[in-house]
């Protein structure tokens, strides 16, 4: 059993619906298997005690022929299970083969087969099955075949998409390169890997098959020689008033079996993708606190943003991950700070903490954030005043954000103009139509979006224009502070430069304070006078931009700069960027970078490095910060 499979099985068993449905299924399967040896009365045996209500001899009563209903229900389980398993297996077999063929070979074969799958999805299968059975005569095998023949496109589609993704994987390519034949590759690699979601769907398929057979039997198209639950209800219907138990029992059995199958499929699905259960959601209510007593009034010197010892922890299952682990900095009014690090270093989590838009599984466990001298987060808790969170009073009017527009940051079904209008109206409810339109036009001009594109939907704009639209949206209410989270990622180089230039320019003109989050040192160099480098949840080095490029005092910073060829010319032998293993880093006893640091010593591995103050606002968390700073300075000076 592969670890993934084991995890799925464990997850399924642990969830209440999963365990419950498996139990019910086990009982039904056992009853069906043991039916002949349970010593039940013959389900077909007629007797004189007609219409007996449930009693000690006949637990579920007898029907209009005096047959024992309990025995019939138990025997009916066999028919239901045969239908379920037979139809699902056959359907999955046909579907997987055709789906695998379509996905694997692609081209016209795929085109043709996909078209057939689509057409089948549009055919009302129940009526087709009904027609087949009506034309060919009612029998159980025929019903099973008919169900399989009309439902196989479900598995085919699943298999096709599985194969399409798996096909590109390395090991399949490797097998092909090694000269394995196509069929062998499919059977050997693709099918075993692609089968998991198909099995999940199989439980749903089984439920559908059972209900279909029951529906047919209920319409009088059931196999007359067998005891089926649908058929029992068909007969019971006519005696509903006299003997309701005739219809109640088989219906309950049907419901239990089908619901168990569906619940099981659902539980497996959730066990395979645990995030499905908790993704999204409305922001949860967080405990808010009152503002601290006697906060000093802000002066011109008060930093626009001050962050102290901020910690943000994600909960994933029973694991806790500290994405932001004690971050402090302060941004003067009108200043610009770049926060740089690889993906996963916590820089975006930091951004979401500043904006208070963290997902529900994130918690601020400590830290204070002050905006213009007023605490908006105190000891990790949002500060509320007169029943309203302070952050809410700042949103968009004073503090706005630029997200990465390539990532669907703009509502795809609304025009850009409309989105700006909505934001404007939200915060200035009294604003007139014309005034609003004028303001929107003004911002568009400022950002350099032609007014003719105002009524475009986001998808109609080019990448660069879409990013500009996002910037325009952020500036619509003239905020003081803008937090830009990867505003140029996924754009081509030329456009990146343009947009960064525009951001720097706007900052000057509008006297904005700016926080620019990026994975790219080059991107922040142009617009920010201070750069903070994040690694594994901490700011490991912070310094004025010039300084950090000239005299990086942390090995990690040096590797980051190494990835940037042009700005100051190549520094000496530059290591390539090591991957952040946040978890390993956070659990390290000494320096978090030690596992990847080329200069790591025993001291590094044993002791957390102190924050070394190198003067002029340059701080580095490295045992050897001073040495690095001095060493890096040399070639620069030599060159000068």
């Amino acid at each position: 059993m592969t670890p993934g499979l084991a995890k799925t099985v464990r997850g399924t068993l642990r969830s209440l619906p999963g365990a419950l449905s498996l139990t019910v299924l086990a009982v039904i399967v056992a009853a069906a298997l043991l039916a002949p040896v349970l010593g039940l009365p013959d389900p077909a045996e007629m007797a004189f005690d007609l219409y007996q209500s449930p009693n000690a001899d006949h637990w579920l009563g007898t029907d209009n022929f005096g047959r024992d209903i309990f025995a019939r229900v138990v025997w009916g389980a066999r028919v239901a299970l045969v239908v379920a398993i037979g139809a699902a297996l056959l359907s999955i077999l046909i579907g997987s083969v055709l789906g695998a063929v379509a996905g694997y070979f692609g081209g016209w074969i795929d085109g043709l087969l996909s078209r057939v799958f689509d057409i089948f999805l549009l055919i009302p299968t129940f009526f087709l099955i009904l027609l087949i059975v009506a034309l060919f005569g009612a029998s159980l095998p025929l019903t099973i075949v008919a169900i399989a023949l009309t439902t196989w496109p479900r598995s085919a589609r699943l298999m096709r998409s599985q194969v399409l993704t798996l096909k590109s994987r390395v090991y399949v390519q490797a097998a092909l390169a090694a000269g394995a034949s196509h069929w062998w590759v499919i059977v050997r690699h693709v099918i075993p890997n692609g089968i998991a979601p198909i099995i999940t769907d199989g439980t749903i398929l089984m439920g559908m098959a059972i209900l279909t057979e029951a529906g047919l039997s209920f319409l009088g198209l059931g196999d007359q020689n067998l005891v089926s639950w649908g058929g029992m209800i068909f007969e019971g219907q006519r005696h509903l008033r006299l003997a309701p138990w005739m219809s109640i029992a088989p219906g309950v059995a049907l419901l239990l079996l089908v619901a168990s199958l569906n619940l099981l499929g659902d539980s497996i699905n959730f066990a395979m993708n645990p995030q499905l259960r908790t993704r999204g959601g409305a922001p949860k209510a967080r405990t808010r606190v009152a503002p601290p007593a006697n906060e000093p009034e802000p002066t011109a010197e008060t930093p626009i943003l001050e962050v102290e010892d901020l910690r943000l922890v994600y909960t994933a299952g029973d694991r806790k991950i500290a994405a932001v682990d004690g971050v402090s900095f302060s941004l003067p009014r009108g200043g610009a700070l770049g926060i740089v690090g690889e993906s996963g270093c916590g820089k975006s989590s930091l951004g979401s903490a500043l904006l208070q838009t963290m997902p529900n599984n994130a918690e601020l466990t400590s830290g204070t954030i002050r905006y213009d001298g007023k605490a908006i987060v105190l000891n990790g808790k949002p500060v509320a005043e007169k029943g309203r969170s302070r952050i809410d009073a700042l949103r968009w009017t004073r503090m706005a954000t630029i997200f990465q527009s390539a990532m669907n940051a703009l509502n795809p079904v609304t025009t850009v103009r409309r989105q700006m209008m909505d934001a404007l109206r939200l915060h200035k409810p009294g604003i007139g139509k014309e005034e609003a339109a004028a303001r929107i036009g003004e911002v568009f001009d400022m950002i350099g979006i032609p007014r003719s594109r105002m009524n475009a939907y986001p998808h109609q704009l080019s990448g660069g224009m879409r990013q500009r639209a996002m910037i325009a949206l952020s500036l619509i209410l003239e905020p003081e502070l803008v937090i830009a989270d990867e505003p140029t990622t996924a754009l081509d180089m030329l456009i990146q430069d343009q947009i960064l230039g525009e951001i720097a320019d706007l900052r000057e003109r509008l006297n904005l304070s700016l926080i620019l989050v990026s994975h790219d040192m080059g991107a922040v160099a142009e617009s920010c006078e201070t750069v903070a480098v994040m690694y594994a949840g901490r700011i490991v080095e912070i310094a004025p931009t010039r300084r950090i490029f000239d005299r990086p005092a942390h090995p990690y910073t040096r590797t980051l700069i190494g990835a940037l060829p042009s700005l100051t010319g190549p520094l000496e032998d530059l290591a390539s960027l090591p991957a952040t293993d946040t978890e390993a880093a956070a659990s390290a006893t000494g320096c978090r970078f030690a596992h990847a640091c080329p200069a790591a010593t025993d001291l590094c591995r044993a002791q957390v490095p102190p924050a070394v103050d190198l003067g002029d606002g340059h701080v580095s968390e490295c045992h050897y910060a001073e040495d690095f700073a001095a060493e890096a300075a040399d070639p620069q000076e030599a060159r000068a």
Binding site: P17, I119, L121, L122, I123, P124, T125, F126, F127, L130, L131, I132, A134, L135, G137, L211, A214, G215, F218, L219, G220, I233, G236, L240, P244, S247, L254, L255, A259, L261, N262, D266, L276, T278, R279, G280, G281, A282, P283, S352, L355, T357, P359, D392, R395, T401, F403, N408, A409, L410, N411, P412, V413, T414, A423, L426, Y457, H459, Q460, L473
Partner: protein, 321 residues
Amino acid sequence: MRLLRYFLFRLLQMFPIALFIVVINFALIHMAPGDVSILLAGEGADPQYMEEVRQRYGLDLPLYQQLGAYIGQLLQGDLGLSFRTREPVIGIIAERIPATLLLAGTALVLASVLGVIIGAVMARRPGSAMDTAVTTLSISLFSIPVFWLGLMLILLFAVTLRWLPSSGMVSIAGPREGIGYILDVAMHMILPVLSLSAIWLGQYVRLSRASVSETLAEPYVTTARAIGFPERRVMSRFALRNAMLPIVTVLGLELGLLLSGAVLTETVFSWPGLGRLIYEAILSRDTPVIMGAFLIMSFTVMLAALLTDLLYAALDPRVRL
């Protein structure tokens, strides 16, 4: 303009599908045991009519010409004569459509509106005890055989409590016009609509729960929250609006499934619609009616798929030719 072009384009795409369905029908008739003319004319038809059928469908000609003749007949709206009543099948079916539309339409609107609302509310608190309970409940709901649920409702409300009528669309001696008639029909509708929408409700709750929680995790929702929109607006303007897209798609795709539920429900409640017609046709082995009903159902589903496509295109500006 965009929508019109899109509509025409999709309409064109429907032709091969329609042809496919007709061919399936044709192939089934020919593969089925027994004489094709008997299947088309119905068992025990008089020889004269039988001969007429053979002529009309060209049953003595090669197969491909027969297919041509068959399609020709269908294009003229000729689905054959009902073996039982000797009336044109198309007329018999047309007569039954309004009742089915009334029943299925009411249940569909009820189930989808309620389902979307409940699902959206659950999506706000994913993983909560309430959410798990509602998910489990909706799975159980659509695991109930609809005809059985109908019977149980009859047992409770018609037989035991005697509150509501158990079958038909109108009372035998009830009023035939005015408000009294409407009320009478409404009373008869309650139970069938209840059973049908209960089953569908489960589907829609799940569908909308999944779809809304998906959109709530989208970046534009985060943008909306950062802008400061109150959560109610975030839900309606951003999340629901976008979540409607997959909901509408599935709605269109599952219509066939829904119709089968309607047929079974009509059977239980003797509702004078298409489903009841199919049931009667099965009992009297009236194959022309069963085949006609299959064709009509298929075309209805196609039409519905076309309409949902159009609705989708209207909702999503990204859809282009």
